[in-house]
């Protein structure tokens, strides 16, 4: 837990395109345990939003219940936040997004919130391709209730009490790819170099962008024998490709032109550059993505990076053909047909 944060900031702090410093993107002090992976994810979100020069008040951050779901208080203090009920953030985010398609939606959830109580809402938001960045802070356990195994705990993983999990784990990324998600990535809270560009790409993606972030629980699931500990994750990381995120304004340099890089252009014109990927792997090939994920799991590797990306997917608004103006800006004149129309309807019913 961070009790103090210096008020003093260097006057020469770097500023982004909007003239804001990184501090402008911070939130309240974290009340999580010292060393919690989630705080690193919050830091990565702050950095990504700073670098993307997003207006914080144009972001709505939503969460469910749990340690992870507390984190939206700790970043983007000028954004509206909604700490909803356990496992139900996807539906609240769906409604919010339908009301105003012009905001950026950032959903924060945990492995209990998503893979157990909220599984139904998660998969349905995903199959509707809701335009949201959905970050799961995945530590394989229930922190707030003192360390019970969650549904993403790996089979055979030992928790702090010595209990060995007998159940198969749910691979949220594999499931998301299977169900038609359009942006699926996995990362590690301890790898900011990878996580920040992934968050930037996800925020720029038009559609459901899942980032499953392994984020160790220092208090209840960081022990030897746990497959979600810092040490274990570091030792078993395997990367599909390293990720660079480039805004539409920046040119793609010659570095990426060679055969070792794969460039994917997102809906807003920005680019995701994947370097040194396996020559047989393409991020836009759903079947190959599934295969790669299964192979990694068989080898005991934790595959990170972008696993699957389909930039041309139609989001929920496109599928419903809603108007471009946000629904929450429509007024009586747009919405209410008036008494004359009602008289016609009356006449039809006599």
């Amino acid at each position: 837990m961070t009790y103090l944060r210096p008020e003093f900031r260097h006057p020469e702090s770097p500023r982004n395109a909007l003239g804001y410093t990184r501090q402008y993107y911070e939130g309240a002090l974290s009340t999580l345990c010292a060393g919690c992976g989630h705080d690193s994810v919050s830091g990565a979100i702050i950095q990504a939003c700073f670098e993307l020069a997003i207006e914080p008040h144009r972001v709505a951050k939503l969460s469910g219940i749990g340690c992870s779901s507390k984190t939206p208080t700790y970043f983007l203090g000028n954004s509206h936040g909604f700490n909803s009920v356990h496992g139900r953030m996807p539906s609240v985010a769906t409604g919010a997004n339908l009301a105003n398609r012009d905001l950026i939606y950032l959903g924060i959830s945990g492995d209990g919130d998503t893979a157990s109580i909220g599984m139904g809402q998660f998969v349905h938001a995903l199959r509707r391709n809701l335009n949201i960045t959905y970050i799961v802070m995945n530590n394989g356990c229930y922190g707030l209730t003192k360390g019970q195994d969650s549904a993403t705990a790996d089979e055979g993983s030992k928790n702090k009490t010595g209990h060995i999990n007998p159940f198969h784990s749910i691979d949220l990324c594999g499931m998301a790819i299977e169900l038609g998600a359009t942006f699926v990535a996995r990362s590690f809270s301890g790898d900011k170099g990878q996580l920040i560009p992934l968050i930037k790409a996800a925020l720029s993606h038009q559609g459901f962008a899942l980032i499953d972030v392994l984020s160790p629980c220092v208090t209840f699931n960081n022990n030897p024998g746990s497959t979600k500990s810092y040490d274990y994750v570091r030792e078993h990381l395997e990367v599909t490709a390293s990720v660079d995120y480039i805004t539409e304004r920046a040119e793609i340099t010659a570095d990426y032109a060679g055969g070792e890089a794969c460039v994917v252009t997102l809906h807003d014109g920005s680019h995701v550059v994947l370097r040194k990927p396996d020559p047989n792997w393409r991020p836009t090939d759903r079947i190959a993505a599934m295969k790669r994920l299964h192979e990694a799991r068989q080898c005991g590797e934790i595959l990170t990076g972008i696993l699957y990306l389909e930039p041309a997917g139609r989001d929920l608004h496109a599928m419903l053909n809603t108007c471009q103006r946000p629904l929450n800006t429509l007024q009586e004149a747009d919405l209410c047909p008036g008494n004359k129309v009602l008289e016609d309807i009356n006449a039809e019913n006599r």
């Binding site: 996807p90 609240v92 409604g95 019913n349």
Partner: protein, 614 residues
Amino acid sequence: MSNLVNDFVIRFANVNGTGSASANTLFAKSVFRMGVPVTPKNIFPSNIQGLPTWYEVRVSERGYLGRRAGIDLLVGVNPQSLAADVRSVRPGGYFVYDSSRPLDKSLLRDDIHYIGIPMILLCQKHFEVPRVQQLLKNMVYVGALTALLDVEMEVVKQLVIEQFKKKEKLIASNHLALDLGFHYAREHYDCPLPVRVERRNNVGDRIMMTGNTACALGAIYGGATVAAWYPITPSTSVVDAFEKYANRLRTDPITGEKKFAIVQAEDELAAIGVVIGAMWNGARAFTATSGPGLSLMNEFLGLAYFAEIPAVLIDVQRGGPSTGMPTRTQQSDILLAAYASHGDTKHPLLFPSTPTECFEMTASAFDLAERLQTPIIVMTDLDLGMNEHMTPPLRWDDQRRYDRGKVLDAEALENIQNWGRYLDVDGDGIPYRTIPGTHPTKGAFFTRGSSKDEYARYTEDGEAYRRNMDRLLKKWQTARELVPPPEFFQPQTRCSEAMLFFGTSTYSALEALDELRAIGIDLDGLRLRAFPFSQAVHDFIEQHERVYVVEQNRDAQMRSLLMIELGISPQKLIPILQYDGFPITAATIVSQIAKYHPAATELLGGNGHPHVLA
């Protein structure tokens, strides 16, 4: 069976999925077009095809629109239910059947009249395709009834023309089927029967509409842009109708873009979650559901209450508990809705009693929800929602503006000094809210279901928690006088006893007040239109020695609510109940109330109807 002109009940016994519904509706609508008040009720199984279904039409010149027991004429075309159908006819009544095959002797009663029409034989003679023969058989019996009950054939045929205006080639065959039944009845029976229809002018400018359609129109006019739902009988047609009218009235004719969004959610939890998310973000949103769905929505309703997020729900109540009787009516979600969710919660409820009121209350529910920043539940029921009712025309005041409640825009945020999301500035318990995206640096806050202080900061301080809970109670007091007031039915001189009713019990309650007066029991009447109860409701009960509370559930839930919220003595409130899934009848009410008036009981007939009216 003397005077049954414009005062009778006719029942159709059909197999569901055989196209009988449109023929039966045609009959009811024809009577309505002849200026005679009519009440159709669809009594259907929880099944798509093959099980018995009934359609009951009460014709009442005096305008009584409640259900009435006792069948004067039954059209029995369902072999499965024939025996029970024959038994259900009143002595002296009529049984119309398909005489293409002889009726089994065991079905013959000597106290009713039998009218055989060879429906299928007539169809086989004139139509080739077997499926068409089956469908038009229904029109043959409507034709026969037209002759037997003296319905005007031009009216019936005109309705057929209107019904098939997009499928014109069907008009001739339907007209022929009507004529076949009509002429057969004329040639073989003494037409018209004593049970018959005579043209009147007792309908006025009223329309025929289901409550669900009216709720949907209320949502359109009330400015709803987001509808989220999970299919459940009997609420499904609310969103179906919303979609139909929204496609017609809210779609750009050139681009096809829609000024609305409908999400068929994965379950009711998600449906209410979508509504809460949309209203949190400044759009008007609603869901339509029934008891089982409302049970699932409890957790979210607690969040919306505590975090103070508007939401609109339409609960089309059906028979509970559990799956209960999905295709029968009840008013049995009252306590669930009033106190939905754990902890200290309560929610304003609106009780429409006609489709017109479904329209008005649904539209107003959005204003109330945004004004009070809390969920509003419109408590309709299957009878109101799925049956067509004769109801005053829908009207909209074009000067009316939506009440968006206390929402701060960017300019207001610029000028405000000390804003707290949960700060009671005006003394009415209602704080000011902000919509995401309004201002770069002001007005952002964290919405949560956990305890917070006036400035939306998380707190576990007991004093701050208590202050917030007390403010919510103050808001509740504000709500008491904001919700629709009760309607009074009082003669000049005040009576010592009164009847209290709400929703679809109203039709039969008003009829019962008339019938009770005829046997010397004078009662004042009050129709509840909303919860929380206003001071006027309290005063009305105080002013009477005894109040009969009429409702359609087993446990007298509204009576409990009155006791809990107004502190009324249980002895004073007498439950008058019907909970068999059928709409409550005046006879039920009269007979239960008459028990408290021994002298008057002697005037009652065995069927609960006063002799003077029977």
